[in-house]
């Protein structure tokens, strides 16, 4: 029993991943089209705004953006872990139950209606995405439960149907909006990280970190739940209650992430998988490490997205898919060989 998980081992692994994340965040905030000197940054903001440009770029532009990318990555990766567990399907990802199409519909409507109000520092696009994302997953949950059946299958079917229906509505709307509106919508759909106010960053950080902490508290129960509802119940876990809590928290943090950055794809599928291949399937370890690795991954991808064709910027979702795919295949080839040799 060499790979038994103990609190000590878990803390060491989390600390390592956290250190990795901090280093990645620090390095990435130094990278950019404008060279930033660290010495100038530590000299402080100066007496009047605009006096120390290095400081302004580093503290007011780069750091918020890097933190934002990390939050989005952590939320999507954690949510992916949890959905794969409750749906007992390694192909599940945060968007599988309709979040993406719901959010997209919200954004398209915000663009079409030309909304311009702000709420708690959030743009109408972000707020509409968040509200529609949450509304859609609850609609899916409701349909899944009214349809009855064995829970998981009806939930997945409801997700597929709602996704298909909303996609059709989105197609309809995109075919009638004008090209300028279309461009901003498409950028959003591909996942786009831009600078945000500190206030909205702070609020989102609280939501996402609290959500992940709540999910961490039920990790052992998620382990048991991957064996199915009956098995979970005979091992003392209430499958209904745990599924509901996991579903609610995971969709909430996904909706926050979608509100912040649009539909950043691939992170929620590839990061949990890669971490599981390396660290194994125990959720007590898989969830926190995936969140940290996911955060580092999106920070790196966003740095590439904002520098590679500078001064223009790519949507970060393009980079996550382009880098995530090959990296994942590499891990898969390497680790499935290792597993195969055990037989």
């Amino acid at each position: 029993m060499t790979d038994q998980l103990t609190p000590r081992r878990l803390i060491i692994k989390i600390a390592l991943c956290l250190a990795l994340l901090v280093i990645v965040m620090f390095v990435c905030s130094l990278v950019g089209t404008q060279k930033v000197s660290l010495r100038a940054v530590f000299a402080g903001p100066g007496d009047e705004p605009g006096q120390n440009i290095d400081y302004d770029i580093f503290v007011r532009v780069r750091i918020p953006r890097v933190i934002l990318a990390a939050l989005v990555g952590a939320a999507l990766a954690a949510s992916g872990v949890v959905l794969q567990a409750i749906l007992r399907n390694p192909l599940a990802e945060p968007y599988i139950l309709g979040i993406s199409s719901g959010a997209a519909l919200g954004v398209i409507m915000a663009v079409m209606l030309g909304l311009s109000w702000r709420f708690l520092g959030g743009s109408p696009l972000a707020i509409m995405a968040f509200v529609f994302a949450l509304g859609t997953v609850w609609l899916v949950w409701l349909i899944g439960h009214l349809a009855g059946g064995s829970g998981i299958t009806s939930l997945l079917l409801a997700g597929v149907v709602v996704n298909a229906f909303f996609s059709a509505v989105i197609m309809l709307l995109t075919s009638i909006i004008d090209s300028q509106q279309l461009r901003s919508t498409i950028f959003w759909l591909m996942g786009n990280i831009t600078e945000k106010d500190f206030s909205i960053l702070f609020l989102s950080a609280i939501f996402i970190i609290a959500g992940i902490a709540g999910l961490f508290a039920i990790c052992q129960k998620l382990n048991v739940l991957t064996f199915g509802r009956q098995e979970a119940q005979s091992l003392g876990v209430n499958p209904r209650a745990i599924t509901l809590v996991a579903f609610a928290l995971a969709s909430f943090i996904t909706a926050v992430a979608v509100g912040l950055s649009g539909l950043v794809g691939f992170v929620g599928l590839v990061v949990p998988h890669s971490v599981r291949l390396v660290f194994g399937p125990d959720h007590r370890q898989l969830l926190p490490t995936s969140a940290l690795v996911g955060a580092a991954f999106v920070v790196v991808c966003d740095t590439i997205a904002r520098t590679i064709i500078a001064p223009a910027q790519l949507p970060v979702g393009v980079i996550t898919a382009i880098i995530g795919g090959p990296v994942f295949l590499l891990l898969l080839a390497r680790y499935s060989k290792k597993v195969g040799s055990l037989r």
């Binding site: 029993m1 060499t2 790979d3 038994q4 998980l5 103990t6 609190p7 007992r88 399907n89 390694p90 508290a217 990790c219 052992q220 129960k221 382990n223 048991v224 991957t226 064996f227 199915g228 009956q230 098995e231 119940q233 005979s234 091992l235 003392g236 876990v237 209430n238 599981r276 194994g280 399937p281 125990d282 007590r284 597993v339 055990l342 037989r343």
Partner: protein
């Protein structure tokens, strides 16, 4: 009484009753086989006993308290369940699977204490499976996997063990191995064992009591020797058998209409 069932009735939605007025009692440390043809409700009865299904009428008592008075967590400290062949989705190792037995005992932080680790190590020792503790469950043979699930049930440290056809996909050697293990646990650890089985002869050889369910909803409960007779087996399964005594057990050989030795 460890398990006491009174006038138990159950039907799935809008279907006719599958279990009618079933009553029986088991003391601590007894071995019951539930036998009967496909569709007679064997697994349904097991699911009722484990609290997964709720009876339409009648009552089930575990250690003299009604089943529904236990919370899911409390019940998991009384009853462990081993189901039919099952392959999990994710590649948990055998050690991780057996450790999950301790879930109802874990505190808020959900990490195993020394007592939990000891229970897991004991379960590996009892089932003689420690050598594949580190291997993923998906990479074990059916027999090995079933042993791991029995080890998990042992690590749960419950007075009652329910098994749903634990050996139906296993070869002869593994079948006998698992039943020997169950018998040993009954005698040495005073566990109450309830096993659903298709195999009349495993029931005849190992169990003290047998509950024979017929497809029409009738049943017979009693000492295995009294319940299993050639006439009753023919009535319930629709097959003639030849009975032979070996040691203290009576075994039954089915006689098909077109088999070599048949008179048809």
């Amino acid at each position: 009484m460890n398990i006491e069932v009174k006038n138990l009735c159950f039907a799935y939605k809008a279907q006719s009753e599958i279990l009618k007025n079933i009553s029986f009692g088991l003391g601590q440390g007894s071995f019951l086989s539930i036998a009967g043809p496909n569709g007679a409700g064997k697994t349904t009865l097991l699911n009722l006993l484990s609290g997964l299904l709720k009876p339409m009428s009648g009552s089930i008592k575990i250690d003299d308290a009604p089943l529904q008075s236990y919370s899911i967590k409390q019940l998991a400290k009384k009853i462990a369940v081993v189901r039919q062949e099952f392959v999990p989705v994710f590649e948990f190792s055998a050690a991780q699977v057996v450790s999950m037995a301790r879930t109802p005992y874990l505190g808020a932080l959900a990490f195993e204490t020394d007592a939990d680790k000891e229970a897991v190590a004991d379960a590996f020792e009892m089932t003689d499976t420690a050598r594949f503790a580190d291997r993923p469950l998906n990479h074990l043979s059916g027999g090995e996997r079933q042993l791991i699930f029995i080890a998990r049930a042992l690590a749960q440290q419950t007075p009652i063990l329910l098994l749903d056809e634990p050996t139906s996909f296993l070869d002869m050697g593994h079948q006998v191995g698992i039943y020997d293990l169950l018998k040993k646990m009954q005698i040495e650890n005073q566990k109450t064992i309830v096993a659903v089985t298709h195999d009349i002869n495993l029931a005849a050889q190992y169990s003290d009591a047998t509950l024979l369910l017929a497809a029409d909803g009738t049943y017979k409960f009693g000492p295995t020797r009294d319940v299993l007779t050639t006439e009753r087996i023919e009535n319930v399964f629709g097959v003639k058998t030849f009975a032979a005594q070996v040691g203290q057990s009576r075994f039954f050989f089915p006689l098909g209409k077109y088999g070599k030795g048949s008179r048809a």
